[in-house]
């Protein structure tokens, strides 16, 4: 019964297998065909292409896993420093309060970003917030300038706000971050840029998967005086006696500069932490994706391989049954 069925099948296939003239059809050398032409016009689907793809995806997975490990170790190193520096800006906020809505003429937005990429969306968030602050503080007689730290924000802001950029600083993390370096940087910024209010935009490190965009405001001494006189949050600043120095203004000037360097130090450290954390999660999802892709490719590879084996078997069996019967 089975043999009869097979004979019938064989006859059906025998009609299909007619020796075709082997045409030397080769598609362009750049794209190897999936189909090989064997003798008698047999067709095998090539597994070579799938195998090449699998190899490259596996390499990518290894690389992204390694990058995740590197980011994790760098994060560990810088995280203790960041946590220790968290106490630095709190006394200033306790004394001077936090007035991001102060109405000033000359705003300077200090955007902190990373130099290297592959760290998720944190740089785009910082740039978006900076542009938002620019928009928020736009109006008659008001101007906003940018000071950019890091290559990634530079690339994004140079495109449409080139005339508003005052200063660009890159390669911040070439040497391990320390307070001396940041205070020199702060000094440069304060010397070269006129400001009434400095707004530092950075990503605060909450945890390995959570980075909160934050803006810290440092007001110039004149604006501080103005706000203190008008009452409100800074109203009781006048009740503080100022020791030493010739004038109160001199001490307030030093205070503003010190506040800026301290908040910059904390901001730069927090942003570096966020960068490493974001890179860790980006590389983690990338290696997971590569793993998924590899699974799917393996299935395709096996299917292709089995299909070609089945085709061969069918050819052979039908050939054999054609000879018999």
């Amino acid at each position: 019964m089975a043999m009869a069925a097979l004979r019938r099948e064989g006859r059906r296939f025998a009609s299909l297998i007619s020796p075709r003239p082997i045409t030397a059809v080769r598609s362009s050398p750049l794209y190897p065909t999936l189909e090989d032409e064997g003798p008698l016009g047999l067709r095998h689907i090539s597994t070579q292409v799938v195998r090449n793809r699998m190899k490259s995806v596996k390499n990518i997975q290894k690389i992204t896993k390694a990058m995740k490990m590197v980011a994790a170790s760098k994060l560990r190193a810088i995280q203790t420093k960041t946590e220790n520096s968290r106490g630095l800006w709190q006394p200033f906020t306790a004394l001077l309060g936090d007035l991001p809505s102060a109405d000033v003429k000359k705003n300077v937005v200090v955007t902190i970003s990373s130099d290297k990429g592959l760290c998720g969306g944190i740089n785009s968030t910082s740039v978006k917030i900076s542009k938002g602050l620019h928009k928020l503080n736009s109006g008659p007689e008001k101007e906003t300038k940018y000071v950019i730290l890091g290559e990634k924000a530079k690339a994004q802001l140079v495109r449409d706000s080139k005339k508003d950029i005052e200063l660009i600083i890159t390669e911040l993390q070439k040497n391990p971050l320390n307070y001396t370096q940041v205070s020199v940087l702060a000094d440069e910024i304060l010397k070269n840029v006129e400001y009434d209010a400095l707004r530092i935009v950075f990503n605060k490190f909450q945890s390995v998967v959570s980075f909160v965009p934050t803006v810290s405001t440092v007001l110039s001494p004149e604006i501080v005086e103005r706000e203190a006189e008008s009452g409100g949050k800074l109203g009781d600043l006048d009740s503080y006696e100022v020791e030493g120095g010739e004038t109160k203004g001199e001490i307030l000037q030093n205070l503003a500069e010190f506040q800026f360097s301290c908040t910059m130090f904390n901001a730069v450290l927090e942003n570096a932490c966020s960068e490493q954390g974001a890179r860790m999660s980006a590389m983690d999802s990338s290696s997971r994706n590569a793993g998924d892709m590899l699974d799917r490719l393996t299935l395709t590879y096996n299917r292709t391989r089995q299909a070609s084996i089945t085709t061969e078997l069918i050819e052979i069996i039908s050939g054999a049954s054609a000879l018999e019967g």
């Binding site: 420093k81 946590e83 220790n84 520096s85 968290r86 106490g87 630095l88 800006w89 709190q90 006394p91 200033f92 906020t93 306790a94 004394l95 309060g97 936090d98 007035l99 991001p100 809505s101 978006k128 917030i129 938002g132 928009k135 928020l136 307070y179 205070s183 935009v201 605060k204 909450q206 945890s207 390995v208 998967v209 959570s210 909160v212 965009p213 934050t214 803006v215 810290s216 405001t217 009781d236 009740s239 503080y240 006696e241 100022v242 020791e243 030493g244 120095g245 001490i251 030093n254 205070l255 010190f258 301290c262 908040t263 130090f265 997971r288 998924d292 699974d295």
Partner: protein
């Protein structure tokens, strides 16, 4: 394939649970700046407004009516918080106008520090630090914030190096030509002579 999907589902909540904030992080105080958030949402409605430092800080207690018995001191450096909300009896800070003693109930003051010795008195024990410079804020609620750039306990200072440094900067001052060099040499001399008197006196 289903197994992989269920593994992924199992992994994600664990990752979220692991993402707990650290114990050194302060709880978010609800007193965020309302005018800022309002202005932001009007101009940029698509994005959440950024957080401000006020939401990361614990609010300070208000001025009590009677003078408290202890002074709460926060002594912070860029690299560490030496003392965080520590209750002490008295601190002596090296302000630019001289050594200033701070007791609970001191009037609210802002003072700049010069290089000198800071001493913290707690009961019978006294800890001394050499402070390079910084600021001290004394609030009306008997909270004192001391922010210094560099502070070391006195026993970590080496006398020989101090003497050498002093000699070096004195010679630099005499050979200085520009105002900048003179100022730098003068700062060096100030710091080293303060170190000297801290170690000897």
């Amino acid at each position: 394939m289903l197994r992989r999907a269920s593994m992924l589902l199992a992994c994600r909540p664990i990752l979220a649970a692991r993402a707990r904030p650290f114990s050194t992080d302060l709880p978010a105080a609800p007193s965020a700046d309302a005018t800022f958030t309002e202005a932001w949402t009007k101009v940029i409605p698509n994005m959440d407004p950024p957080k401000t430092p006020l939401s990361f800080m614990q609010p300070r207690p208000p001025t009590p009516s009677s003078i408290p018995s202890k002074l709460t001191v926060n002594f912070v450096l860029p690299y560490a918080s030496e003392l965080a909300t520590k209750e002490v009896d008295m601190v002596i800070v090296p302000a630019t106008t001289g050594q200033m003693g701070v007791l609970p109930g001191h009037v609210a003051t802002i003072a700049e520090l010069k290089p000198g010795v800071l001493s913290v008195h707690e009961g019978s024990e006294m800890t001394k630090y050499f402070v390079s410079s910084g600021f001290v804020f004394i609030h009306a609620n008997s909270f004192a914030d001391i922010i210094a750039v560099e502070a070391v306990p006195l026993d970590r200072l080496d006398v020989n190096l101090v003497q050498k440094g002093l000699a070096e900067f004195t010679s630099k001052l005499s050979s200085a030509t520009t105002d900048l060099e003179k100022a730098e040499a003068q700062i060096g001399i100030d710091v080293h002579s303060a170190l000297n008197s801290a170690l000897t006196g």
